[in-house]
């Protein structure tokens, strides 16, 4: 959990860097020779019109897709050199919820903890869900939840994942005003502990240390 990170680990500086990225989708060149550098405690807000390549950029940064040219580095090492170590530091949340409809919210959180090889006690899982207003819904199958509530389950996962780098595609979608505030707090807290965040959003966001990047 975020509060478990010792002050010593704060001093370690993590850097995500993209050099000369070029992305081609089908026949179309989305962007070329793109440079990004993000260090601990900072948030990169990627903006741009629909279809300009925000999601493609995020997927390149996660390593899910390969760039046409250029490279992505995590702590000065190519992400393809040691993908499992990079994945340990990475949390990606895409358009789709990636939650299992037939499992309960608690089971989903616990399932991801085992798959991601993160220790998670039931108490911690429950308190993460409760923090985001899912008290009383721990044992509901996810298909009974609204779109916004599903996003809250993902917020609980972000809290329990112990990742340094969060790459979030439209994290504010479907959230009510109150939840938007909660997510901004969660992100600010993550940055304060030396985390890095890359996100796309069409709304103005109110988080310290945000660098806006227009595609």
């Amino acid at each position: 959990m975020i509060d478990n990170i010792s002050p010593a680990s704060r001093n370690l500086d993590y850097v995500l860097e993209a050099r000369g990225l070029t992305c081609v989708r089908g026949e179309r060149l989305l962007f070329s020779d793109l440079h990004v550098r993000l260090s601990s405690g900072n948030c990169l807000h990627v903006r741009g019109e629909n279809g300009v390549g925000k999601t493609s950029l995020l997927r390149l940064l996660t390593g899910l897709s390969k760039p046409e040219a250029g490279e992505v580095l995590w702590c000065n090492e190519l992400i393809t050199a040691n993908p499992l170590a990079y994945h340990r530091a990475l949390l990606f949340s895409g358009h789709r919820d990636a939650l299992k409809d037939d499992l309960t919210t608690l089971e989903n959180i616990q399932m991801y903890a085992t798959l991601d090889d993160v220790p998670l006690t039931q108490d911690k899982a429950l308190s993460a869900l409760w923090r985001f207003g899912l008290r009383g819904r721990e044992d509901l199958p996810v298909h009974c939840l609204s779109a916004g509530q599903k996003r809250r389950v993902i917020m609980a996962r972000m809290l329990t994942r112990q990742a340094k780098l969060w790459i979030l595609d439209e994290p504010f979608n479907a959230l009510d005003i109150h939840a938007v505030g909660e997510l901004q707090n969660l992100i600010a807290e993550h940055l304060q502990y030396g985390g890095l965040v890359v996100l796309t959003s069409h709304q103005e966001i109110n988080i310290p240390n945000v660098q806006v990047f227009d595609l």
């Binding site: 996660t62 390593g63 899910l64 897709s65 390969k66 499992l84 170590a85 994945h87 340990r88 990475l90 990606f92 895409g94 358009h95 789709r96 919820d97 990636a98 939650l99 299992k100 409809d101 037939d102 499992l103 089971e107 399932m111 991801y112 085992t114 798959l115 991601d116 090889d117 199958p141």
Partner: protein, 221 residues
């Protein structure tokens, strides 16, 4: 190893929550194999002769029924991306999913086979051989099928394409599986058939998880 078991546990839990999909394939196996004795009549000698082939073909087809679901649900809801970005190797998750598929779609066929065999008037010795071949053969079906399931992810009309891709690969398993039961019934040695089925299984175990996980990675790119 815990990565394999965590995904097996999850997949079995998901199956328990939605039993109908799996039961359809098993029901298909039972019904198809029961239709033959009903259609052919009470010619016991003929039934004994066609039993291995019929049971094996039904096993192939019922495996095929559930195959496209191996990765499709996880692909559609984005879980597959999350698995690919997990700090554990993707190949372990793929191996776990294949194992879960076999437990759900292959193992029940092995256990049902003796009951089906009785309808074809197979003697107890042939039933043992039938179960043995299915025990060695059905994991090969799940393994080879996973390649097809991974290659057809996100393709329209995937299940038809899947059958065309995978059924030819199933032919050796069918020949040696049904052949062993037939050889046994005419008093020939079956150890050759079993060795070849075992060899197919070991070969598939050694290569398929890597091939399938590579195919899955291509699909989510």
């Amino acid at each position: 190893m815990s990565a394999v078991f965590s995904i097996v546990r999850r997949d079995l839990l998901l199956v328990m929550r939605r039993k109908s999909e799996v039961l359809t394939a098993l029901f298909f196996f039972v019904v198809v194999t029961s239709l033959f004795p009903l259609g052919i009549g009470s010619d016991a000698a003929l039934l004994r002769k066609i039993a291995p082939g019929v049971i094996w073909v039904a096993a192939l087809l019922s495996t095929l029924l559930g195959l496209h679901r191996m990765f499709a649900a996880d692909y559609l809801d984005g879980t597959l991306e999350q698995l690919a970005l997990s700090p554990r190797p993707m190949v372990l998750f793929v191996a776990g999913k294949i194992l879960a598929h076999w437990i759900v779609c292959g193992l029940p066929l092995v256990l049902l086979a003796p009951i089906i065999g009785i309808q074809f008037d197979l003697d107890i010795n042939s039933l043992y051989v039938l179960m043995g071949t299915l025990l060695l053969g059905t994991p090969v079906l799940s393994l080879l099928g996973s390649i097809g399931a991974a290659l057809t992810l996100g393709v329209r009309g995937a299940s038809v394409l899947l059958s065309l891709l995978i059924l030819p690969l199933y032919i050796p398993v069918l020949i040696f599986g049904a052949g062993a039961v037939y050889a046994n019934s005419v008093g020939l040695d079956t150890s050759g058939h079993f060795s070849l089925l075992g060899a197919l299984l070991i070969l598939a175990l050694a290569f398929v998880p890597w091939v399938s996980s590579a195919a899955v990675k291509i699909a989510i790119e």
